[in-house]
């Protein structure tokens, strides 16, 4: 890093912006907090779109032989529903929380590479928009989120080419973000913040970044191979030329299985923060929760073919992967038991964040149990590719991840926006969402075992499963109602004037709560010195000789912000080069679809962006 004396005084190509307020500042921001908000708002917008797609699916399946959507429309909608929820909602919403809170929780001023952080956000957004532009440019992806060739490589619609390019773009964004956050956690912890004094949320974040860094390259190769097959008639998955469709499946699931842990671990981290605060006792078995998260990360690379039990890998492979899949249930169970241990004997305050967290744990358990039944390979021959699997993954992803993320939203809203979401309506949202969720996905266990396959746009009345389909549809609309309630709650809340009566409304445990709400751009007046896990808690409370807690007298701890110190806090200035560089990549993407000139233009834009980025001084003149 440059020292003040050694950076020659010069300009970049264009004057570097300085403003940190105003609408334009959102385009040039490199502040992890603003980027976190950008991620969160974008992710939520995509959640609504993905939810609308889900409602269309459920409306179509409410009746047998329904004609609301034809086969072609349905295939695009269910594909986009999956892609949106996974890549454009859960992952970026998790990124929102990681971005906003990891630096605060470890006592840092920002992430390791702030401009790279902005680049990741813009590329994610452009990648998502690129994917959605397909609706208007010939058709959305229609081969399922898993895109199995030869169907996906031979489908005449342009949609699956958008799929390949779009996911390459968002994959690059996530990879850059992964390196950034991993280095941040490893290298930028405050003095005294050893690895085992980090909050579990930060640990889960670290594991997720490594999962991303090592799994994304594999699917990137697969996506390029699919793109080449579609665009330039290569032979990677072409059986007539000797290509093997199963190569895609192996490469894809080598990524996509770790991906499911990428999707759930952030929520596990949030739950691990909320439960102790609202139980008013520490996380039970902190080291075990941490180690089980690491174990899940490692073992997660060894189970991928359990998505392929019915493709004919042979009894040896099926046996091996059945066993590894059973093994991975153990560290997951450890977390559940430790969360129960956290609540046990506590003083449980069921505010909305706590309701969401406990709901997430309970619903995840159901999904986890159905997951164990998948490990019973011969039984999986019946379960796979049916609604039973749809039930399983929605219980873990919606039940676990989405409830967990909502918990984080309610928990940290006051920190980010200096207002409290309405507690009554929060509870209303929770209960309606819980009931709606169970009505939607509970019956899907029956639908699956009763013989309904996945990904079918219609079914006959003679299947005998009309009733449970109707129940699921009703449940889906209840979920929509609960989300609407949340949106109204959020809007009404934000219309109030900011300002918290109590800046530590939940009596929390971790460092982000030592700052003002919202935190100043530099996060901490002075970088905190950390002496313990749950550092903030220990500044407020000390244990007497019986191990009971007593509140430390005011002023005796050093958590009160010192407003009289004058410091020169050095922060890099905003920049627009990350946005420019990021913009070049989807242009290349359009070029691959339509014209080599566009490829050139996009490449030029990206290169100019990167050079400008490299050349600009760390701060504006």
């Amino acid at each position: 890093m440059a020292t003040a004396a050694s950076v020659p005084a010069h300009r970049g190509i264009i004057r570097r912006p300085t403003a940190t307020t105003g609408w334009l500042s959102w385009f040039t921001t490199i502040d992890h907090k603003k980027i976190g908000i950008l991620y969160g708002v974008s992710a939520f917008a995509f959640f609504l779109v993905g939810g609308a797609e889900a409602l269309l699916i459920r409306a179509q399946l409410a009746k047998p032989d329904n004609t609301l959507l034809n086969a072609d429309q349905y295939n695009q909608i269910f594909t986009m529903h999956g892609l949106t929820m996974i890549f454009l909602f859960v992952m970026p919403m998790s990124a929102a929380f990681f971005n906003y809170f990891i630096p605060l929780m470890i006592g840092a001023r920002d992430v390791a590479f702030p401009r790279l952080n902005a680049f990741s956000y813009w590329l994610f957004l452009f990648g998502g928009l690129f994917l959605y532009s397909s609706w208007f440019l010939g058709g959305a992806p229609n081969g399922g989120w898993f895109g199995y060739p030869p169907n996906s490589t031979t489908d005449p619609s342009i949609g699956m080419t958008f799929y390949a390019i779009g996911l390459i773009l968002t994959g690059i964004a996530s990879s850059a973000g992964a390196i950034n956050l991993a280095v941040t956690v490893i290298n930028m912890r405050a003095p005294g913040m050893t690895f085992f004094r980090m909050p579990v949320f930060v640990w889960m974040g670290l594991v997720v970044q490594f999962l991303l860094a090592f799994s994304l390259p594999i699917v990137t190769v697969a996506l390029f191979e699919m793109l080449f097959d579609r665009r330039w008639q290569t032979n990677f998955f072409e059986p007539a030329a000797g290509g093997k469709p199963l190569l895609w499946q192996n490469l894809f699931w080598l990524f996509a299985h770790p991906e499911v842990y990428i999707l759930i671990l952030p929520a596990f981290g949030i739950i691990s923060e909320i439960l102790p605060v609202f139980s008013r006792k520490p996380l039970f078995g902190y080291q075990f929760v941490v180690f089980s998260g690491i174990a899940i990360g490692f073992i997660g690379f060894g189970v991928w073919a359990h998505h392929m039990f019915a493709v004919g890998l042979g009894p040896v492979a099926n046996t091996a992967f059945g066993i590894t899949t059973a093994i991975i249930a153990v560290p997951t169970g450890i977390k559940i038991f430790n969360w129960m241990g956290t609540m046990y004997g506590g003083d449980l305050h069921f505010d909305t964040p706590m309701l969401m967290a406990v709901g997430a744990v309970s619903m995840f358990v159901i999904g986890g149990l159905s997951g164990v039944t998948h490990a019973v390979v011969p039984s999986d021959y019946q379960q796979t590719d049916t609604y039973y699997v749809v039930a399983h993954f929605h219980y873990v992803l919606f039940g676990g991840a989405v409830f967990g993320l909502f918990g984080g939203i309610y928990y940290w809203w006051p920190k980010v926006f200096a207002r409290m979401l309405n507690e009554f309506w929060g509870k209303v949202q929770f209960w309606i969402m819980l009931i709606g969720f169970n009505l939607t996905f509970g019956p899907m266990h029956i639908l699956g075992l009763g013989g309904m396959i996945r990904r079918e746009y219609t079914y006959p009345a003679s299947l005998g499963l009309t009733f449970w389909n109707q129940v699921a549809t009703v449940g889906a609309f209840l979920i929509a109602l609960s989300v609407l309630i949340f949106i109204v709650n959020a809007i009404v809340t934000q219309l109030r004037k900011p300002g918290l009566e109590n800046e530590d409304p939940w009596d929390a445990r971790t460092l982000e709560w030592t700052t003002s709400s919202p935190p100043p751009v530099y996060n901490f007046e002075e970088i905190p010195v950390v002496h313990a896990l749950d550092e903030f808690w220990h500044r407020k409370y000390a244990e007497d000789k019986e191990g009971r807690l007593i509140r430390v007298p005011a002023g005796a701890s050093d958590d009160a912000p010192d407003t009289h110190r004058e410091h020169a806090i050095h922060l890099p200035s905003p920049s627009f080069w990350p946005l420019v560089a990021a913009l070049g990549l989807p242009v290349i993407g359009y070029g691959v679809l339509y014209s080599w000139w566009l490829v050139g233009a996009g490449a030029l834009l990206a290169i100019v962006g990167f050079i400008g980025w490299a050349m600009e001084p760390p701060v504006a003149d």
Partner: protein
């Protein structure tokens, strides 16, 4: 309210003592191992699977590729020499060796372009009618590697330009070391590719 003055950041203090950029580069290179791993796996999976010609033994000129491999290996040597010069603060010499590295890299890439063109004229295609799995996997794997070399050349030339214009920070050896890490990695990947693709013979289809 603290004063956020706008002057450059002080020397970086990190929890591990490793500079963040170096840590980032290592994690990035680790992820690149998986990228090339998947590409090489695809190649190996499909080795001997082509149903139509041309086949490997018909087009490869091992002697030619050995020479260009040597050129790339030599570029790693010049890269090291550049870093040594930078550490001695002889920045003119550093730039010289960086240019040499870039030139050797360009020779390698140029050699590959020539090689691929001649393969194409012998009927080896990446896709479309008349293509086979050998062409598909060969061009993809070596193409990805070639792109990585090209990006490396761009980074080398950028370093030269920025150093010459006085735009690098005082410790010029650090960015040179970072680019050096990347360059050596790309070189090592080539050694693996050259061995797996060129040196290990493929089973010949019957009748050839």
């Amino acid at each position: 309210m603290a004063d956020t003055t706008t002057h450059a950041a002080p020397a970086e203090h990190t929890s591990t003592g490793l500079p963040s950029t170096k840590l980032a580069m290592w994690i990035f290179l680790a992820s690149e191992c998986l990228l090339f791993g998947a590409l090489i796996t695809t190649y190996v999976l499909y080795r001997g699977s082509s149903t139509t010609p041309p086949y490997q033994h018909e087009v490869f000129d091992i002697a030619y590729t050995s020479v260009s491999s040597f050129v790339l290996l030599a570029s790693s040597l010049t890269m090291v020499l550049s870093l040594v010069a930078a550490e001695k603060r002889d920045f003119a010499r550093m730039r010289l060796w960086l240019v040499a590295t870039a030139l050797l890299g360009m020779t390698f890439v140029g050699g590959q372009v020539y090689e691929f063109t001649s393969f194409y004229h012998e009927g080896l295609k990446i896709g479309g009618p008349g293509s086979n799995l050998f062409g598909t996997t060969f061009y993809t794997l070596t193409g990805f590697h070639g792109v990585h070399v090209t990006v490396g050349i761009l980074m080398l030339l950028s370093l030269v330009g920025m150093s010459w214009a006085g735009r690098l920070p005082d410790d010029q050896a650090f960015p040179v070391e970072m680019v050096g890490l990347y360059w050596h990695f790309v070189d090592i990947v080539w050694i693996v590719i050259f061995t797996v693709v060129y040196l290990i013979p493929q089973p010949k289809p019957p009748g050839t």
